[in-house]
């Protein structure tokens, strides 16, 4: 039988006893020089979620945010004595405090939301990692200089090579290692088409109020169409779906009054 010692459940359990403190810190890498496409998407998604829940936090940019994170991935938040990383864990942590964007959804809608979140993680998430770490043009012109910008020589080369190896292994294990760039673009196309079809003419996916699914879509889609890459096919595919772009613009208007400057490679 599996043991019950899950780090997430412990922090959720203990964290639920305290209200949301006023000094919560949100850690991410440097936006201008360092952050990469997949990390930027995840950071924006979590920020959007916290703003939708009207939870106050301050952004702290750290060159070693990835190493400080309990799971090794950004973003993570420091809430009292707890460090919680990545959207799923943060949603559970916030939910344990009685704050939820999905309280009015039925069980079926929640199941559907889970499914679409998986779709975005599996397709858009992995596609971003593919484009960042496997595509030679983007890797040499954007990823290598940005990832290594905070380390001295030769650490910048070694750590970048290590991270690339790790990400390529991850892609391979998830069945993305053998895909060509064309196949990746087809997958992105079908994912965006499914999301667009489901969204239809509504502003948000479920009713009048946004949920964590809307936050996740905002994080990924907004990052993709605002990040300048040598290869613009990714952004062109996403821009075709106007209702997804409208969703992103609405969330930006409502929750991000003044946006941070765009990524400049």
């Amino acid at each position: 039988m599996p043991s019950v010692l899950l780090t997430e459940s412990i922090s959720v359990e203990l964290g639920s006893r305290e209200p949301w403190p006023g000094d919560v810190k949100f850690f991410q890498p440097y936006l201008m020089e360092q952050i990469l496409l997949p990390d930027n998407a995840n950071c924006l998604a979590v920020q959007a979620f916290l703003k939708m829940c009207e939870l106050h936090f301050t952004i702290e940019n750290r060159w070693n945010a990835e190493y400080m994170s309990p799971s090794g991935r950004v973003p993570f938040i420091k809430c009292g004595d707890f460090l919680v990383a990545e959207l799923d864990s943060i949603v559970a942590f916030v939910g344990a405090k009685g704050i939820s964007l999905t309280a009015e959804l039925t069980g079926t809608q929640k199941a559907e939301m889970r499914a679409f979140i998986s779709l975005i993680n599996c397709v858009l998430g992995n596609a971003e990692i593919y484009v960042t770490w496997k595509d030679d043009t983007v890797f040499n012109e954007v990823t290598k200089p940005r990832y290594g910008s905070v380390f001295p020589f030769p650490l910048n080369r070694i750590l970048c090579w290590q991270k690339q190896k790790k990400n390529l292994k991850r892609l391979s294990m998830l069945g993305w290692g053998g895909k060509s760039l064309e196949e990746v673009y087809n997958d992105i196309e079908s994912c965006c088409s499914a999301l667009s079809e489901r969204l239809g003419r509504s502003l948000f996916f479920f009713g009048e109020h946004p949920t964590e699914l809307d936050a996740l879509i905002f994080g990924h889609i907004f990052t993709i169409f605002t990040t300048p890459l040598p290869n613009t096919v990714f952004a062109r595919i996403v821009r075709k779906y106007s209702n997804l772009i409208e969703l992103c613009k609405a969330i930006e208007r409502m929750y991000f009054e003044r946006r941070e400057p765009e990524l400049v490679p």
Binding site: L5, L6, A111, S193, R198
Partner: protein
């Protein structure tokens, strides 16, 4: 000329036409789309385009992978999703990604990483089914691949308890979400099965039917009674012949046990007669070789008289010497 569509698959057991989820997915999709598919149990992934089963063959075309096979069948106008709206198609795509993200790692764990299940179920089954010499290679390779997946997803060693707990927790959430989505319906989108039903059946049927030793996830699935009914419904409607063969085979294996009990009286009699014959033979042999001697009453009397005469002569001789 109509070339037949063929599918090379892993073999079946426990009432399933195939124990492998990818093969089952294609076979269920073919049944739902009324594809005239001939299946061949090859149990050998060696000579295949991608090194895995199933392999779909139509004339000179060979295709691996469910999405490619489904796309080819749709080109030939075979589809299970004709009655779905675009929104339902989008939902179907989303749910299949939910299964591959949350449930697939758990199935890899339960089949290949969990030590008891691997040693008592998976490895013996595959080793028995694969031809020589692949039975020495593939089970070990699948085990290594599954462990690498665990290490990639959780970034700790595969035997860390975090992996087992994490994998089971995600899978249980996924099963609960599927159960809630299915509700009391027969299939996920109305009264006719679609691609999503084929995918869900392929994931759930082996998990439900295989005799796992560590059955935590299987028990959670059994607790979702509507999912169990869903799997049984599809097995009975679309794979009835396989199910019936398995039931008949199970019954015929139980029959020899009952027949051996009916032989009871004859068996005892034969045992008694055999023991009697053996005893008589051994006793006769013992007598014939002189191991056992039996003397009559007259012989005993004559021997006694002889003994008395010998005693008297000895006594007389000793008394004469004394004088």
């Amino acid at each position: 000329m109509n070339r037949p569509m063929e599918l090379d698959i892993w073999g079946g057991d426990w009432g399933l036409p195939s124990i492998d989820l990818h093969c089952l997915e294609v076979m269920a999709y073919a049944k739902f789309s009324a594809v005239p598919l001939q299946t061949h149990v090859t149990n050998n992934p060696f000579c295949t385009p991608n090194g895995s089963l199933p392999v779909f063959k139509h004339g000179k075309k060979k295709i691996n992978g469910f999405s490619e096979i489904a796309a080819y069948l749709r080109e030939k106008n075979f589809s299970a999703d004709f009655g779905l709206t675009p929104k339902q198609c989008a939902e179907s795509v989303a749910f299949s990604h939910l299964l591959s993200e949350r449930l697939h790692p758990a199935l890899q764990y339960v089949w290949w990483v969990d030590r008891k299940n691997y040693l008592e179920l998976s490895r013996p089954w595959y080793a028995k089914s694969l031809p020589f010499p692949y039975n020495y290679y593939y089970p070990g390779r699948y085990e290594r691949d599954a462990k690498k997946i665990m290490e990639t997803l959780y970034e700790v060693c595969w035997d860390d308890p975090v992996v087992e707990t994490g994998v089971h927790a995600e899978a249980e959430k996924c099963l609960t979400a599927l159960s809630i989505r299915l509700g009391e319906e027969e299939f996920f989108f109305g009264s006719h099965p679609s691609t999503l039903d084929a995918t869900v059946y392929a994931y759930l049927a082996p998990l439900l039917k295989a005799p796992f030793l560590n059955a935590a996830l299987q028990n959670h699935l059994k607790a979702c009674s509507n999912l169990v009914r869903f799997v049984v419904r599809i097995s009975q409607r679309y794979f009835a012949s396989t199910l019936q063969e398995y039931e008949a085979h199970k019954t015929s294996q139980q029959k020899p046990k009952e027949d051996s009990e009916n032989y009871f009286p004859n068996k005892r009699r034969n045992q008694f007669l055999a023991a009697l014959v053996a005893t008589v033979a051994m006793t006769g042999y013992a007598f014939s070789t002189g191991l056992i001697e039996v003397s009559s009453k007259e012989e005993v009397k004559m021997e006694d008289e002889l003994d008395e005469q010998i005693d008297e002569s000895v006594f007389d001789h000793s008394s004469n010497e004394g004088e």
